[in-house]
């Protein structure tokens, strides 16, 4: 059987979901028999070399670069999966969604206790190499179509494993009660 190709990325996330993927322990050997990785931090490949079968997205979108990567994933992946709470609902970053952006930036760079008095020119970072921040943090499916969602913070290794196996082998996925959790 030809190996399925997987790509992964972490957008506005903490890499915890990727860590959880690695928590599948010795099953990683089985995984390597089933799939090969294209663009992914797992193998440090930075660019897509081809159209892939499965894309796993960790994190939501908080800046324009995230949107760009997400759209690229949608274009390159036959099946796209949101992995973890951030990808699904913005995650903890999205707590800022309930506060006006200007207020957040002012607190972070101008007025917060750790920066007050240190930023003499009152600059909110604006180097042209820096991606511009979005007005709020977006769940991935509010930007592109997402085929499946794996909840959890992070999703348990078992859940990610079950999902990958089911996708690769085209089987029905098992979702026992204990695996679907939001924390």
């Amino acid at each position: 059987m030809e190996k399925k190709v997987v790509a992964t990325s972490s957008l506005a996330g903490c890499f915890g979901c990727h860590m959880s993927l690695l928590d599948i322990d010795e099953r990683i050997l089985e995984l390597i028999e089933l799939v090969e990785f294209d663009k992914s931090p797992v193998n440090d490949v930075k660019k897509f070399s081809r159209r892939v079968d499965i894309g796993l997205i960790e994190g939501g979108c908080c800046n324009e670069e995230n949107v760009h990567v997400l759209k690229e994933f949608r274009a390159q992946c036959k099946v796209l999966v949101s992995v973890g709470e951030c990808a699904i609902m913005g995650g903890l970053q999205a707590i800022r969604n309930t506060i006006p952006l200007k207020e957040c930036l002012d607190e972070a760079y101008l007025n917060g206790p750790s920066v007050k008095g240190c930023n003499e020119e009152s600059i909110i970072p604006n180097d042209e190499e820096l991606p511009v921040i979005l007005n709020k943090v977006y769940p991935c499916h509010e930007i592109v179509k997402i085929d499946y969602h794996l909840p959890g913070c992070p999703p348990s290794a078992d859940l990610i494993w079950n999902a990958l196996r089911a996708l690769v082998l085209d089987e029905k996925m098992e979702m026992p009660y204990e695996l679907v959790k939001y924390d």
């Binding site: 949101s82 699904i88 903890l92 999205a94 707590i95 769940p139 909840p151 939001y182």
Partner: protein, 234 residues
């Protein structure tokens, strides 16, 4: 002695008592009808609408509808299951429910229902409303981000003179549940704890009480909500 009544629930012959609400009668017959705003023993309100069942074909909330002889009740139809799931999804998107940072996570009834209904992502757009956290009361914290307006606290928590400590404010999608500042200052320890415990989500918190139970030891970590009532699994 209460009069005994017969009724049918999802095709099963059941028995209950006159004046018993459908939810309670169902539970005694081994059926779980999902509820969220309901608390057994307190006058029901029918606010969340999750317990909608078809009674002789008509949609009624099981928590507010008293049993009548010969009722034919449908509960676990595809239509009703999706209706309940949709309502839970509405609640998840209406407020700001960041489970990973919520101390009620694992013991939260909204989350437990979402687990039970296998919700991986809500069908509705997240609203991310701007809401306050009231942290100025001596014993309680009211986090409006998580409030699902179930009215439990309003119905249950009263001071010694029977006055409301909690009440609604405004209406429609601007509605909130507010605490009376003066009465919250004088709230008894028992009342404060009760308010925390009856809140199905993490909207009413007790000070100095957070994260007492580790993950894995919480109420809904291993077993779905309502399982203790179920004899007939559907």
């Amino acid at each position: 002695m209460n009069q005994i009544l017969k009724f049918k629930l999802d095709g099963v012959e059941c028995m209950g008592y006159k004046d018993q609400y459908i939810t309670n009668a169902a539970a005694e017959n081994g059926f779980y009808i999902p509820t969220l705003c309901n608390i057994p023993g307190v006058k029901p309100r029918g606010a969340c609408r999750i317990c909608n069942v078809r009674v002789n074909g008509k949609l009624m909330t099981a928590c507010t509808t008293p049993l009548a002889n010969g009722m034919v009740i449908e509960c676990q139809t595809e239509e009703l299951k999706d209706l309940r799931k949709a309502i839970i999804e509405l609640m998840l998107t209406e407020g700001n429910h960041f489970c990973p940072s919520c101390e009620k996570s694992g013991n939260c009834e909204l989350q437990a229902l979402a687990y039970r209904f296998n919700i991986t992502v809500p069908r509705f757009k997240y609203q991310f409303p701007e809401r306050d956290i009231e942290a100025s009361h001596p014993k309680l914290i009211k986090d409006h981000n998580r409030c699902i307006l179930c009215k439990r606290c309003i119905r249950v928590i009263k001071d010694e003179q029977g006055r409301n400590i909690f009440a609604f404010g405004k209406r429609g999608n601007r509605i909130t549940i507010n605490i009376d500042t003066e009465l919250a200052n004088d709230i008894s320890d028992e009342n404060a704890r009760m308010a925390y415990e009856i809140c199905p989500v993490g909207a009413i918190l007790l000070r100095e009480n957070a994260f007492r139970e580790p993950i894995g030891k919480r109420k809904f970590d291993h077993v779905p909500i309502g399982i203790e009532m179920e004899r007939f699994h559907k």
